[in-house]
């Protein structure tokens, strides 16, 4: 019952873990604003959530672009009311195929930072104010063990995720007194397109299904919701 009526903004919602999270949260009763670049894929996920009995609205947008945060926050808030939970799930590997830092272009490195670090920073900044005023909110940042383990070839991605995790810790230190919690989560390796892009040789059968990971993650976040005081938006 933790998610019934909760307003959630989820990025990277058109496939992989984002898609699975959208369906899982929608099934649990959350009201969702789903963000992704590809409108067609997003529309498909919105339909899947609605078929599962959930409420979802597509918010096409690219979190890595400079003016996206105000537009995404505006559309999502117009449709759902105040956002109670944000899940920064959109992610970029940087160079594909992966390559050593010495072979990584400026553009690929900057793309990883723009999507994985600067985008979440801007979107959080646009959404935490009303959370702090209301006295609570939860911001979830999807990270990776590449944030702490220096895997060769994962330079742009790993550096961006390490910075994202520290960004979350600082947000949390600044806003915890206002009731706004930031948490970093590591979903582990999954059978997704991103994983295939990164490690085409991996055996999909050896990897977790995004649906299973999403179930586990939603349970973890339910505990966070219970632990933190995240006031529910008044019914509209």
């Amino acid at each position: 019952m933790d998610w019934r009526g909760r307003t959630v903004l989820l990025t990277g919602a058109s496939r992989g873990l984002g898609e699975a999270l959208a369906v899982e949260l929608g099934r649990a009763g959350a009201r969702l604003a789903l963000v992704a670049r590809e409108e067609q894929a997003l529309t498909r996920v919105v339909r899947a959530v609605r078929e599962a009995g959930g409420e979802a609205h597509p918010v096409p947008g690219d979190v890595s672009s400079a003016d996206a945060a105000a537009r995404i926050a505006g559309v999502a808030t117009a449709l759902l009311g105040s956002i109670e939970v944000v899940i920064h799930n959109a992610s970029s590997l940087g160079p594909v195929p992966l390559r050593p830092l010495a072979e990584t272009s400026d553009a690929a490195f900057e793309e990883a930072l723009a999507t994985n670090l600067v985008g979440p920073f801007r979107l959080s900044r646009a959404l935490v104010g009303p959370m702090a005023l209301r006295g609570g909110g939860l911001v979830v940042q999807v990270s990776s063990d590449a944030a702490t383990t220096p895997y060769p070839g994962w330079g742009a991605y790993g550096a961006s995720k390490a910075a994202l995790e520290h960004l979350g810790r600082i947000w949390d230190a600044e806003l915890a007194a206002s009731g706004v919690r930031f948490v970093n989560v590591d979903p582990g390796e999954m059978d997704t397109r991103m994983h295939r892009d990164a490690m085409p040789e991996a055996d999909p059968a050896s990897l977790a299904r995004p649906e299973q990971v999403a179930q586990r993650l939603v349970q973890t976040l339910s505990a966070e919701l219970r632990a933190g005081k995240v006031p529910a938006e008044a019914p509209r």
Binding site: H57, V59, A70, S82, G129, P130, L133
Partner: protein, 348 residues
Amino acid sequence: MIHALATLQAPITPAHRLLHVDPDGGELADRSLDALPALLRPGDLLVVNDAATLPASLAATAPDGSAMEIRLAGEEGDGLWRCVLLGSGDWRTPTESRPPPPLLEPGAVVRFAADFSARVERVAGVSPRLVWLRFSPSGERFWRALYRHGRPVQYAYESLPLSLDRVQTPYAARPWSSEMPSAGRGLTLPLLRRLRSRGVELASLTHAAGLSSTGDGELDAALPLPERFEIPEATVAALEAARHSGGRVVAVGTTVVRALEGSAAAHGGQVRPGADTTPLILGPGHRRVVVDGLLSGIHARDSSHYGLLRAFLPPPLDTHYLLQVASGGYRGHEFGDSTLILSAQTRR
């Protein structure tokens, strides 16, 4: 020329100066917004307007092919908006100097993009520039189209166009306002935390602040138009608690005064929770029944906000205020300094 002095090209910097007026003592003091927690007492209640600012300005093509601007002045239903028509030109020209817009008949269609248009449903009696538009698409696709094609209303005194994130208060939530409810612009999250630490209570409501200027004298004289608002149960409870404990109710912005006093005026002196619309226009001599104090911008003599300010400033304080604003070099407009009108006594 008090107006001109108070509104000279305001640089875009955080508003730090606070002109504190004590109506009982008749004193005006030059403070900074940073001093706000010290000027309030534990148990005082600060009520803010959490409406976010819409990208309320749309470049449009009239049925005759001419360029015009349409500004959203208030939502009246799904896809139905009260709108103001402006002539061609952009934010560099003050609205009153823009050419008149083409006049539209009911049924006329204006276009913003290939897949975004609006049909005129009704033209207001007060001015042909005030119209009701039915947007297509409606629903969630309306909001996506609006945020793709709309821009925030711009101000001729700015040197660069404002982006959407620049016209939001720090706690902006639902996008209901045509222009920024700017009184709260300086209430940063650290300042809100300091206020809470001091024991000051915070509450919010959502009020759809309308347009500040239309470029049409007759329509400007009718501002503000009726505006909708929504007051949460928790805010009504906080008002009750302040009343019982002797705390002062301080409205952040004239929109909050309008919502609270408008609700009370419609319900026998009691603020009711929920959504409503108010036609209330406050001015000199208005007897307030809810709000004790006001945190607002610096308002010049000829603005509609100054009229509301005078509901808090009995003569000769209103004149003293204007003189102090001019001689003290306070910055007016949306990005300027602040006024706090608050006496040591509660209104009751």
